[in-house]
Amino acid sequence: MPIAANLWIMTSSIYHDPASANLWHPIAACAELRDGEVGRTTLLDEATAYRIGADGTASVWRSDAEGAKGGLPCRIQYGYIWTCLGDPPADLFEIVEYAEPDRRNMNAISIGVHSSAPRAIENFLDMGHFPFVHKGILGAEPHTEVKDYDVEISVERDEVLATRCRFFQPQSSAAANQGAEVDYIYRIPHPYCAVLYKTSAIDASRRDVIAIFAQPMEQERTRAHLLLSILDEHSDDSTLRRFQQTVFGQDKPILENQFPRRLPLDPRAELPIRADKASIAYRRWLARKGVTYGVIPVAA
């Protein structure tokens, strides 16, 4: 249901729907900022600047050619600076695995893509493309079947969850050296963030965590921050990052050749199949929340 325009938040001179404005959004990976350096980026069409002080705290502000325009709320979490253009929620979603002492935590890459944040999220949830786009790594013909899985929209936790997802993968991670059927859980705790929990190749009782935190720069332009929080005793950091950079680099030309660039929320706009249960739920959840940024809302 669309939110009435008079409830929209006015931030500087741009109106945003509260579903997009009153959210924490990632704008930079902390590790990539050098001491004292001021970074600049665009968030929801607004120019922002950011830095990390000597004491390790971040500051973010609206900026333009005339200089600083006003401080914005900010926090550091999972190795990223997050900010909000409206009223931020008290907390950001939790990823408990991140705090485990034997985790390898890092930003694999922050990469721009000519597509909307919701399109990038939906691609992240999709398994049917593994044997084609990620051939030889996350999938291979003839193992193309997407077996039935379970999807839940939790109103209480305000997130979408897809469980019992299974797919045969020739090389499921940097650590894997043979094919295996991998078990996946997808969790969408934020309109523009998705978290994947996949069986670890090292310890089948635990899960590697790979997340996409999509920074909506513009309606049809996104900076995807890819978090890795995984178990691996042997590979160095750049090997782990390289695997994820390869995978997302393969997704990029698909996203950039997908139209419309904004995600259509009307269920009749595109042709989902059984394998698309998670994306159907994601679109419905966005529509219920009144998200309008990066989507084509359901016609009134």
Binding site: I111, H114, F248, G249, E256
Partner: protein, 211 residues
Amino acid sequence: MITLYDDVLSANAYQVRLLLSMLAIEHTTTFVETTPGREQFSPWFRGLAPLGGIPLLDASGVLIHDSHAILVYLAAAYDSSKSWYPVAAGPAVLAAITEWLDFGRRLCATAGAARLHDSLFQPTDIAASRRNAGQLMRILDEHLWFGEQQGDEWICSLPHPTIADLACFPHIILCEEGGISRQETPAIRRWCDRIKRLPGFVVMPGVFSAG
């Protein structure tokens, strides 16, 4: 033994990966992480390559930087067909190849820069980069179209591809990442298909195989 210093997302390194594969040259790879690691500026790499660029080739102790120089070296040293850099074809052909290597450099500075700007937020005048890349692509499209009219399939008027094709291909095939379309350059699109069908062709993230 040959060692390639490489980065998965590098378009310039892709030129070299293509020739290494097409000539089936055995080699090892040492990855240098340009993003986010900026490893190409690290002291250890700068010690090998003062200009700090990827790719770098170590051919049994001889260090060669710059993708075009590496293409010349590999073709001259390893190509038994003598077709990728056909010295015997005479000075006019070698001059033409060198002109098109320069063209590839211009593609790097325009289409390549646009890609790095849009993907990795490296500064450039993006409007100028796209506009200039478009002009270069019109020139290449016209050249390839007239070549097709005379039965040529490659950049140089020879019955086989040369390193000129490999120098230009990566920046062209990845140009959409910089917001540049190939819809107006149909001869370029057909040439890209032909390159993808060459024996030993390999993809990189962002490139689809011929299928």
